[in-house]
Symmetry: D2
Subunit: 349 residues, 4 copies
């Protein structure tokens, strides 16, 4: 249950509710918001009913959380979460969608990366993404350049003003990565690597959490819950396709409907990654637009200055000239969307 206290509830009133819950074997979590203190209580609702709690002084409202995810639930937090960066960029809510672009892997060539970052900046993108540690199905494939790649990312960020995103694969890399990176990414294969979720949950840094290939929507939101439960509320979800019986034409099936579903049940921002979702260059633009039209708060795309020679995922990366054309059309599309009177958010909630 969620107990929302009155805006002028006293500390004594709040403590009384908490003590009562603890005496009845509830796990309790207090969240002090700008206006209301909210108490999150987990326990046996047959012992203490919501009605019993509503009778305490200073209690404004008691809500039952219907879904197993709690902190991520819109029941608990009806307003969209908005994450704001040092340079004023915002993700979530009614803010303009953001674009995160870059190579699958950062390579040994800094000039190439700078060329990519410059094109990204020119086209209005906010984030440079690039892999330093690559989870690869085979141990014989390229595994990433590690810290050197992150240094390149930071240099390119300083040169262009872009924020940086990179995947973390191991909790022990976190302290080092925090120096270089503005957004940590958890990859699809680690969506239920709970130790890693707990570790990023203890960082004060936004986290992009990618949906696993076989994650149900509920499991995906529970993975976010693992991060939030450890204290980090800055979670950005990412739909990147799920596994289906047909991979002849696309690598995965993009579950576009998951975006409005998640918007309905959760307050977290969600972005879309059509590069990994489809594995096909020609599908990036249409799927990016499809995601935006159903409410995605951003798009992640793989782009490359020399896709033919990319160390990973070249085939699904947009070459820079094509990226500029695609981005020009997407920017125009996004601007039109904004005049659509926010029909979607009105409709969905």
């Amino acid at each position: 249950m969620i107990i929302i206290m009155e805006r002028n509830a006293t500390k004594v009133q709040i403590q009384r509710v908490i003590d009562f819950l603890k005496d009845n074997d509830f796990q309790v979590r207090r969240n002090v918001g700008e206006i209301h203190t909210v108490i999150d209580a987990i326990g046996d609702k047959t012992t203490i009913t919501p009605g019993r709690l509503a009778a305490f002084e200073g209690v404004k409202e008691v809500k039952v959380i219907r879904e197993p995810f709690r902190l991520a639930s819109r029941d608990r937090n009806p307003e969209d979460t908005v994450i704001e960066f040092k340079n004023g960029v915002k993700i979530g809510g009614n803010n303009k969608p953001v674009f995160m672009v870059g190579p699958c892997s950062v390579e040994a060539d800094y000039d190439g990366l700078l060329e990519i970052a410059t094109a990204a900046k020119e086209m209005g993108c906010e984030f440079l993404r690039g892999g330093a540690f690559k989870p690869r199905t085979s141990p014989y494939d390229f595994q990433g350049y590690g810290e050197k790649a992150l240094q390149f990312m930071k240099r390119a960020s300083e040169a262009t003003g872009l924020l940086t995103v990179s995947e973390v694969m191991d909790a022990s890399d976190l302290p080092m990565m925090l120096d270089y990176i503005d957004v940590l990414q958890i990859g699809a294969r680690n969506v239920q690597n709970f130790k890693l979720l707990h570790a990023v949950g203890k960082c004060n840094k936004p986290v992009i959490l990618k949906r696993g290939l076989a994650s149900t929507i509920r499991e995906f939101l529970l993975a976010a819950e693992h991060i939030m439960y450890n204290g980090n509320m800055q979670v950005i979800l990412c739909e990147r396709g799920i596994r289906s019986f047909d991979n002849a034409f696309t690598r995965n099936v993009m579950d576009i409907a998951s975006i409005p579903v998640i918007k309905k049940y959760s307050h977290l921002p969600i972005i879309i990654d059509p590069s990994h979702g489809t594995g096909q260059r020609y599908l990036i633009e249409p799927l990016a637009k499809a995601g935006l039209v159903v409410g995605a708060n951003g798009v992640m795309m793989e782009i490359h200055n020399d896709p033919e020679n990319a160390l990973s995922d070249g085939k699904q990366s947009l070459p820079l000239p094509m990226f500029k054309e695609v981005m020009t059309r997407i920017n125009k599309f996004t601007n039109n969307l904004r005049y659509e009177e926010q029909c979607l958010s009105a409709n969905v909630k």
Copy 2:
């Protein structure tokens, strides 16, 4: 292989190619187009190579079909198929998307159906859809009103000018149905009922073919091929969701990417059915828009004058007032889309 003859190729030249192919055990099919005669030849390409055929007089070009579907393939027919109806409505190509709306099942109440049809007409829709024969998972569920339902459909069509769509489940019903219905529909469960595909393949009536819950894109196009192979080229594909491991929030997963994939590999028009695809009323609008933005040639939606009491699928049907709001926004959205300089079609092909 496809052998495209010169526009001024003589009958003798054409016959010579055909005879040569037949002598070498190829199956041959001649298609006389407005400009070119095209010969479709199936056989052992190691016996007769494309180069050998290109050397014949009057041959303009020889193409190898890379996909197992041939008549449905864009290799064979680079231009989009456009289907035109008696009242001038067109589906496919760069024509404005069409809308097919109505109840899941036609019910015993003609006035209700007329109310639905009137609302559909008012909102600019072109087709009234309604089930007369319902494929139901359980034999204990309502199976449709049969011919009586089709009579109601025809009356509502005459009253409003809408074209009609209804599902055929049995070849023996076809002669009767052809009197009432403008578009035959093959349901998802019958996508590989080849006898039924062959039967509608022999009708001179457009056919909507719904993707099966476990159809790969290739199998889906091969099911269309079964219809076309029997002579009926007026096939409209319909993406309506596939089965996945997660049905907690949506009944199926809509494979939005299948639309641009199919546009790339086939010339057939394709529409989207977000009602069956998601099973959720609140997802119809966003998914319809997602489909349109990636190039769908139309949308099928379930609407109902009294969804609480519908005999089937009430939960996923839009009540009429909500339908009007949704349709107003979709119409506006579609009009904006058309100013997008056809980026999609340019990009996808």
Copy 3:
């Protein structure tokens, strides 16, 4: 609800229960068994509770059917269904598992078919299977020899004493097929072709119903229900693999657990088809044994006298010498199984 009448219930008592149910808008179906009359009633259980019915004279027991399938349900019929053929062969219950073997398609060569049938008989198999009408994904593939194939089947049956199994694809073929065939087969692609299910439901001939590639267990049993609801209780289910995300090494995933699940919830016999289930010759023997060990009442296998030149599915057919070796081991295995004190049936029910 199922109302089981006492063994000595009078006609008047039975009629009184039926009238009462009909007066309260229940659909009623009376089944006269050897010992008990059973009344199957479908309607609103809040209007008439089981307790209300139990109070009628002559009523032995009232059971609520928890699953949507009723006639197929073990709740309704606790004893295994056993199907007996003219020559004394039985399928189901504790009877020895049966073996149905033969070519995917019957071909133009009767001698080849006779060679197969003779080998089958020699190895103790009871049924010859062979396709006359082939559902093929592509219209360009071989579609079967039709009635001629069935004539060959009947000749081979007369020569060897084997019973015959063949797939029906169209209700209009049924009258002709009934002359030739002892068991009708409904293929996986037609598992929800309800018109065909209804048609075989009106035949007095055992039916093998194959699970669809995307059929849930519940849908599969409801498809059987469509047949039974039309009067034919002689349904044999067949597990033949479902579609999954991995088809690199096997064509489908065999859901071996579905066999004991279905044994628990239904009284119908179930067989296993490892040829279609795996698509790999080397997997037929181990998967056949796996099916038998969990309770399958029979095995269907593709065998061929000349698999290299088979018109369909040659790769997954066992050549005759390999078939004899495999069958020798399976027969030995099956004999051992029978000494296992029926632990499975005891455990599963």
Copy 4:
């Protein structure tokens, strides 16, 4: 490529092959076996063909590895891997299948664990399994007792002579765990947690690797390859069900065919876990037998002294009396199997 040297090849001959490969940019790995030295070379086969290498003195045979997994491949190692424990227990090859049983989570009650272990020993099982660190979908569920649980495991092991198995979730726990545990387990959710795979790859301790819910067979073997590539060849695979579209009656679908497929393509031992695979107590026995009959080298089962009050997975655990009955029948079954003349291994390879 795999270069197998003659048994009497000289050091100079071996070095010459290695130098030649390295000069041509191949990655080289030398494996000194009891009889042959084997050189594993990865690089561009168009530069150096197998024939070129076969011409070197001292080379017995050059094999091309067709699958992306190499160390795990049967091409490279035709003999089954057998893992032997300090007490003489062996897994793999033609050795008697092993049984690993115990509670899902080790709980606060040592006496309960000892009761379980005593029953396991009595029934002839070799391993006690129990979770100390539990990967749980929700952060609100019980996460395991950690080191205390491992201490209990070790005490129970010393009391009974059973070997111990427990899951590792974090590389940093490894040094501590190695003191208590005989076999490390990697859970299904961590099957592509490559950092963890690398960490256990550096341990000298057998590892059970569970198949992921959406792992293809190829990805599963490549995950094993990540462990082996880091030096640890003692990998035991575990089939525990994959995700499908139907979870109404079973939690997952057990892919029984994966066992003979993996036996064909890999030399690693593989066990089956029907408790997690089905999530249903009544399916453990039949699925365990199905796994054994297709060649599984062992079975993992959840059993519990008090399943009603288990902290996790009680519903799928066998209560001890039922475990004893099941195990009695399985032991008898396994003994019979062994007289089956190893038909399976003969057939499958």
